[in-house]
Symmetry: C2
Subunit: 518 residues, 2 copies
C-alpha cells in the first residue's frame, strides 16, 4: 500500500502512518488538543511484592527475565550519563544472548558509547530507535539502514508520549548512582553520579516493569528519592553503572573560541539593551558552548548592576553553580546536570532543584515552566527566512542530533539563537531549513557575529533596541551576507525513504527526515 | 429493593452496595487484586492555561465558579492544619450561597473546626462525607442523620481509592503556607505552616480541577514544590489559611499521665527484650500520647547502648526532631507534621523527609514503606480475643475517630498496641470488637499496664522474651482481668441502619458501622 501524505501547518508532507501507527500532522501551535485520557497503568498490589521491600535480583539478566523480556517489547532508558553510560549495551547484549528480536529502544537520547548497538540494529535484535541519536546511530539511520522509522521527540514530548499512551513502555531501565533495594534511587550520591534522574520519571510512572540498576546499594531509605521505589519492580547491583566524567561532553562546556565568545557577549548585550536583564528575571541556557557562555556575561552585568536573577534553568554546570553560590541567582532549576560541580551543588544546596520533563516541559499538562522563563538561549544547525529552525540535521542532510529540550524552551518569553553565520563554509541562515524542528513564530532573535535579526513579530523588541547601537539586520540580509562569503550551498540530495519523524511537543508530526542519497 | 449482604473474611455482613456503588467484601489480606487499570485523568493542554504561568483567581468563590462547581460534585480536601483549618467551611459557605446541592465532601480527615458544616449536611448542600470524622461530624453521622453513608478509609486507602478511580474528585482544595501563582506549593514556608502536604498528593494528581489556596503568594518558583503547579488549575490568595498552633492537638502530644508513661516504658522494655532495638532498626509511632511517648524511651535505650536507628516514621514532633538532631536517627520519614518543631525540621533538614500516602502506604502499588519498618507502635479503642482491633468506634458504638495510617502500618514487621486495660471503667480487651478495622493476624503484641499478650502467631516473639521477666499473659487473661475489675460491659445497642463503611487498604469493605439506638 503506498504511503499517504498530508501537508501540515508548516507546509511539510507528513505520512499518515509511521511504524504502523497513525500520525497527526502538526496543526499549528496549541491547535491539537486530544479529547482523550492519559495512559492508565495496571493496578498493582503490594501482595505481589516482597513485604520487606527487598526487590533485589541477582543480576541484570535475571531482572530482565523476571520482567518478562520478549520479542517486540519496548525498552526505555535515560541519558543522564550521556557518553558515559555502561548499562544499555549490556541490556541489549543480554537480549541478543536470549535470542530476543524486534525490540523498540526508547532512550531519552543515545550517544557514541552506544555505537555497539549498530550490530543489533543489523541483526534484528532492535527493530528501531525512538529517541535522540547523537553521532553514529544517527548516521546509521540517515543511511536508511534501520528496519523501522526513527521518531524523535523533545524531552517534554517524550514525557507527553508516555503520559498519553502513545508509547507504552514494557521495561524501563533506570541507572542510578545510589539506590536502596526497594528501588528508591538518585543520581547525586555514590561514585557514579549523574545528577538528576528526571528524564526517567515518566518511565518509572508509566512503564509496566521498572528495573533500577546501581553500583551503590545503600540501606533503605535512599534519600532523595528522585525515583520512587513504589514504581520499581526489581533492583540490580552491578560493578559500575557509568563514568561520571563523561557527562561532560563537547556540548556541555563553555566555548573557548574567540568567535563564539564574541557571539555570546553580543547576545548578552542584546538582552541588556532590550531591558530583559532586570532584578528577578529568569533565564535558560541550553547545551552548546556558546549558549552556556552567555550566562557568564549575564553574571558580569548582574554584578555591575547589583541585581540578581530569580532563577536560572539548566543544564547546570560549574558556571551556573558559581552564580548560585555567589548569590546572583536565587534558584537553579536543573533538568540535566552537565558536570560534577552541578552534581555537587544539586546534592548539597536546597536551592539547586532537580526538575523533570513533567514540571518543565510537558505540553499536555496544566502549564509548564517554559513560558514563565524570561530569556531562553538556544542553538540550532540552521535557521531560515521565516525564522524556522532546525536542530537535528546538518546541511548535508545527516541526522546527527537530538531535539533535547529545545522545542519545549521555544515557549520562553524571549527566545534567542546565537549562531555563527556559517560553519565549515556552509551558511547557517538558509532559504528553507532542511528539517523544521521549531516554527519561526516562536523564535524571536537570531544573533550572529555579523548582525542581529529580530523576528518582525516582536516589534516590541525592535523598538526597545533600535537606538542601542547594535548591528541590526533583517534575516534576509544575514542570509545574503552568508552567501556572499560562502556561495549558495548545494542542497543535500534525499531519497524518498523516510528514516525519521520529528514530533512537535503535542505529539503531532512537524517534519520528517529522508534517507541521504549516495 | 432490600439490601443484600455478604459475609466477609472476618465474618462481618457487608452490603453489596453503598451509596449506589457496588462493594467488594474483605476477602482476606492480599487476596483482592483488581484486574483493572488506574484512573486516567483527562489529557490537558498548556494551550488552555496562561503561558506566563499566572493562574491566580480573584477569590475562592471565583476559583470555584471557574472550576465549574455544580450539584453532585466531589470536593476533596486535606487535613494538615487539623483543627486549625480556616478554608473548608468557607468553601461550603460559598457552595451554599450559590445554591449547590448534594456535594460529596472527601477530606482526608475532619475535626471539630468543621462542626459548622453540620448545617450543610442538614440542608442538603453536602450529601455525605467520605473520610475520617473526628468529633462532632462523627457523632452526627452515628445518630443516623447524614443523607448518605460515610465511607472511612486509611490514608493509604484514600490514595488507593483515588488512584484506582473508586473516588473521582471533581475539585480538589489544597491549602498551603506558601505557593506561587503557577500553583507550586508547600507547607513549610510562611506564617501558616502545616509541614508536609502529602495527603493532598493524590488529589493533585487525579482531580479534574485543582485549586491551591494560600495566604503567602511568593514569586515563582515556590520551592520545595510538595504540590506541583503542573497539576493545578487555579491559585487563590486569602488573608489566612490556617492556625499552625492548632496542628498540635490532644492526639499529637506526649502523655503526662503516669499510667500511660508506664505503658510506654513497658512497651520499650518489651521491644528491647525481644531484640528489636538494634543498630540500624526503624520504628513508627502513631498519633496518640502513649505511642508518641514510646519513642522517648527508645531514645534512652539507644543512647545507653550507643546505637542509632536508620529511620523513624512519623507523625513528626519535637521529640522525634530532637532524636534526629542528636544523631539517634538517620532520617525522619514524615507523613504528617504534628508540631511546629516538626515543620522547622522538615524545612531546614534534608534528613527530615516529607513522605506521602503514595510512598508510605498505598497498597495498590509496587510495595510501600509499611512492611519495611521494624517496630510499629499504634493505638486502638478496642482489641478482641482474636487480636482484631478497632480504632473508629468507642465501646458505646459512636463513630468518633478516623483510621489515619493505622491500617497501613499494620504491615510493619512487629506491630504493638500499648493500651490501658480499661478506659472509664470500660474494658479495652473485649470478646469481639464493635468494629473491625484491622484483622488480628497483623497485630502482634498488646501491652497493657497489667500484662503483655503476644499473638500466638508470633512464636518467635514469645520465644525471644520468655525469660525476660516481663508480665506475659494471654489475651484471654487480660480480658478476664479487665472484666473482674470493671464487670462485663453492656454492648452498645444498634439500629439496622448502616451509617458508615470501613474500607480495608485494598478498597474492600472490612466492616460497617450502624446507627446507635436511642
Amino acid at each position: 500500500m503506498p504511503q499517504k501524505f498530508i501537508k501540515n501547518a508548516v507546509g511539510r508532507l507528513i505520512p499518515t502512518e509511521i511504524n504502523g501507527q497513525p500520525q497527526v500532522p502538526f496543526l499549528g501551535i496549541g491547535k491539537y488538543k486530544p479529547e482523550s485520557r492519559k495512559h492508565a497503568p495496571r493496578i498493582y498490589s503490594c501482595a505481589d511484592y516482597p513485604l520487606d521491600g527487598n526487590k533485589q535480583a541477582a543480576s541484570l539478566k535475571e531482572a530482565l527475565i523476571k520482567a518478562g523480556l520478549k520479542d517486540g517489547m519496548t525498552i526505555s532508558s535515560h541519558h543522564h550519563f550521556r557518553d558515559g553510560d555502561l548499562v544499555m549495551v549490556q541490556v541489549f547484549d543480554i537480549a541478543h544472548e536470549l535470542g530476543i528480536k524486534d525490540l523498540r529502544w526508547f532512550p531519552s537520547a543515545s550517544f557514541s558509547c552506544h555505537a555497539p548497538l549498530v550490530k543489533y540494529l543489523e541483526d534484528g535484535t532492535i527493530h528501531h530507535i525512538e529517541g535522540s541519536m547523537n553521532g553514529p546511530l544517527g548516521k546509521f539511520t540517515s543511511e536508511g539502514k534501520m528496519k523501522g522509522t526513527a521518531i524523535l521527540r523533545s524531552h517534554g514530548g517524550r514525557y507527553q508520549a508516555i503520559q498519553d499512551g502513545e508509547v507504552q513502555i514494557d521495561i524501563a531501565i533506570i541507572v542510578a548512582g545510589a539506590a536502596d533495594s526497594f528501588g528508591n534511587a538518585n543520581g547525586v550520591h555514590g561514585e557514579s553520579t549523574s545528577g538528576s534522574l528526571g528524564f526517567a520519571l515518566a518511565d518509572s510512572q508509566y512503564a509496566d516493569k521498572v528495573i533500577v540498576v546501581t553500583d551503590n546499594l545503600i540501606p533503605f531509605p535512599c534519600v532523595p528519592w528522585q525515583i520512587q521505589g513504589n514504581y520499581v519492580d526489581y533492583t540490580v547491583l552491578v560493578d559500575k553503572v557509568g563514568i561520571p566524567e563523561k557527562i561532560v561532553s563537547g556540548t556541555t562546556q563553555i566555548t573557548k573560541s574567540p568567535d563564539r565568545l564574541f557571539l555570546a557577549e553580543l547576545t548578552a548585550k542584546f538582552c541588556d539593551a532590550a531591558g530583559l536583564i532586570k532584578d528577578g528575571f529568569s533565564f535558560q541556557t541550553g547545551a552548546g558552548g556558546t549558549s552556556l557562555s552567555v550566562s557568564t556575561y549575564f553574571a558580569d552585568i548582574m554584578r555591575a548592576r547589583g541585581i540578581k536573577a530569580r532563577y536560572a534553568r539548566g543544564g547546570s554546570n560549574k558556571y551556573m553553580v558559581q552564580m548560585l553560590e555567589e548569590g546572583l541567582v536565587d534558584y537553579i532549576l536543573d533538568g540535566q546536570t552537565f558536570d560534577l560541580e552541578g552534581v555537587r551543588s544539586m546534592r548539597d544546596n536546597a536551592h539547586h532543584v532537580a526538575t523533570s520533563p513533567f514540571t518543565s516541559y510537558n505540553y499536555h499538562s496544566k502549564g509548564n515552566f517554559s513560558g514563565i522563563t524570561d530569556i531562553v538561549i538556544l542553538g540550532a544547525t540552521e535557521v531560515d527566512l521565516d525564522f524556522n529552525a532546525n536542530v537535528v540535521t546538518h546541511s548535508d542532510g545527516l541526522l546527527l542530533h537530538g531535539i533535547g529540550g529545545w522545542q519545549n524552551c521555544l515557549f520562553g518569553k524571549t527566545v534567542i539563537l546565537p549562531l555563527p553565520l556559517f560553519r565549515n563554509r556552509m551558511p547557517v541562515v538558509v532559504d528553507q531549513v532542511t528539517t523544521i524542528c521549531g516554527p519561526g513564530e516562536l523564535i524571536d532573535v537570531i544573533v550572529t557575529e555579523r548582525g542581529i535579526a529580530i523576528n518582525p513579530l516582536r516589534q516590541d523588541l525592535i523598538d526597545a533596541v533600535k537606538n542601542a547601537g547594535l548591528p541590526l539586520k533583517t534575516i534576509k540580509e544575514l542570509k545574503d551576507e552568508a552567501e556572499k562569503i560562502c556561495g549558495v550551498p548545494d542542497k543535500p540530495v534525499f531519497d524518498d525513504q523516510i528514516i525519521a519523524a520529528i514530533k512537535w511537543v503535542d505529539g503531532t508530526v512537524i517534519d520528517v527526515v529522508r534517507k541521504v542519497k549516495g
